[in-house]
């Protein structure tokens, strides 16, 4: 009971008598938004207890917090969820602290939880103090100054370009082949097609009458190299057969492996 009156004394505004006091009380309570969360509020409340944070009664603090929250709700002030979570947790902590420990419960003791909360408050307090000390230090641009007229270190930056001949040639090749681009196809370099041979033979055979060696009809540039020669020979032979079939030419061969002769039919 003594405790009760004591903490109510700590919050005299809640017990306000006059209208002005009442308004002031509401102003304070409404200022719950001014606190940076429940821990901040708890720290403020703990300061009102005017005791060393290390010796603080968490039970007493929990009661203050709960009273604060209850009062805020009476005034129908919207409280953020975390304030209510803290209230619920503190109510739980309070019951742990008040009831004898349950030997079957292996969770942390109420004392340990209270100690951790006290530690958190003390740590937050310490960080606030540290922030204040930091800001109270001499600061550059306020208490001490850097050279106002720094001399620029001139950087003579020379670029060496790493282009080499290969880059140059590749660039050129890229430019020159840009419009030659086509989808990939198997390139048959040394192949003389039957269509090519047909076209050539038609032109060359014509209406002339004398027999001529088929080899003589191989195109220029397709005689020397064996692969090319093979392809051109096969194509020209096939073309000759085709022309013979259509009756445009005649063909003859004296014996196996002997040269093949053709002549145009009139």
């Amino acid at each position: 009971m003594a405790d009760q009156t004591e903490w109510q004394d700590e919050l005299p505004l809640i017990e306000a008598e006059t209208v002005e006091d009442r308004l002031a009380a509401e102003a304070l309570i409404v200022d719950v938004d001014g606190y940076e969360g429940p821990l901040d509020l708890l720290l403020m409340l703990s300061r009102r207890l005017k005791v060393d944070l290390r010796k603080i009664s968490i039970l007493q603090l929990a009661e203050q917090y709960l009273a604060f929250i209850a009062h805020a709700r009476d005034l129908r002030i919207e409280l953020a969820a975390d304030y209510l979570v803290m209230a619920a947790w503190l109510a739980f902590l309070k019951s742990r602290l008040l009831l004898p420990p349950d030997p079957s419960d292996d969770g942390p003791s109420g004392e340990a939880l209270a100690a951790q909360l006290a530690f958190q408050l003390e740590r937050l307090q310490a960080m606030r103090l540290a922030a204040a000390q930091l800001m109270a230090r001499d600061q550059k641009g306020r208490n001490f100054f850097a050279r106002g007229l720094p001399e620029q270190v001139t950087r003579h930056r020379s670029y060496r370009y790493s282009a080499n001949l290969m880059d140059l040639m590749q660039a050129y090749a890229r430019v020159r082949t840009r419009d030659e681009f086509r989808p990939y196809a198997f390139d048959r370099v040394d192949v003389y097609t039957m269509d090519q041979a047909l076209e050539r033979l038609r032109k060359l055979v014509g209406p002339l009458g004398s027999w001529a060696d088929l080899e003589g009809f191989l195109p220029d540039g397709w005689r020397a190299q064996p692969a090319r020669r093979r392809s051109a020979t096969a194509a020209t032979f096939a073309a000759a057969l085709e022309l013979a079939k259509s009756g445009a030419i005649e063909m003859r061969q004296s014996e196996i492996f002997a040269p093949i002769h053709i002549r145009g039919k009139a």
Partner: protein
């Protein structure tokens, strides 16, 4: 890919005299508004010079003068003596006023570094707004440290050389009250002798456990 050719081609000649090296370091530090590291200095000194020795001599020479040679992390910078600040009213810059949240966040990072955002929130008891961290990064007072080797690999924050420079600190070890806070166990995550503590430190990563070990 940048190769810095020292202005004085490293020569076969002897290094300049200590007095001459001191002059050179003095010129370089005086010319720069930013702290220069020993390495920066060494790179620009003639071959065979000893930047550290020149700096030490210079610090002695300037001690007690209107301009002093301060150590800032691994670097050095000339700064006006702080007792003369009142004469520099014209040079004063408007310091951006930090919100309480930003000040506390900065202090928590400085004293607990490397520290994750979750740890900052745990200490402050409220969420850290994006803007707060952004503002401190923007001021170049904090930067990202190594990722914590815990699930999610959260990023950590550490303070920077410009932070040390701004607050006239030689290193993060010189933060006011650091020793006392540590002795009181207030840089830990749990109360001393607390049986609820699964681990003693905020950090679950033993490599990162040491304060201020990175840079």
């Amino acid at each position: 890919m940048t190769s810095v050719l020292p202005p004085d081609e490293p020569s076969l000649f002897a290094a300049p005299s200590p007095a001459e090296q001191e002059r050179m370091v003095e010129a370089m530090l005086f010319a720069s508004a930013e702290p220069l590291s020993l390495r920066d200095l060494q790179d620009r000194l003639p071959h065979g010079s000893d930047a550290a020795e020149a700096v030490a001599a210079l610090r002695r020479h300037y001690s007690g003068r209107g301009v002093e040679l301060l150590r800032v992390g691994e670097a050095y910078a000339f700064r006006t003596a702080s007792d003369l600040g009142h004469l520099m009213a014209r040079e004063m810059v408007e310091l951006r006023k930090l919100s309480r949240a930003a000040m506390e966040t900065l202090a928590i990072i400085a004293y607990h570094q490397p520290v994750t955002r979750a740890e900052i929130e745990q200490i402050r008891g409220v969420a850290v707004s994006r803007g707060t961290i952004d503002q401190l990064i923007d001021l170049e007072w904090i930067r990202f440290g190594r990722r914590r080797m815990t699930p999610g690999r959260p990023v950590t924050y550490v303070v920077t050389e410009p932070f040390l420079d701004h607050f006239g600190l030689e290193s993060a070890r010189d933060l006011p009250g650091l020793k006392e806070l540590r002795a009181a166990g207030l840089l830990e995550s749990h109360a001393p002798n607390d049986d609820t503590a699964p681990e003693r430190r905020l950090s679950a990563d033993p490599e990162q456990d040491d304060l201020f070990d990175n840079e």
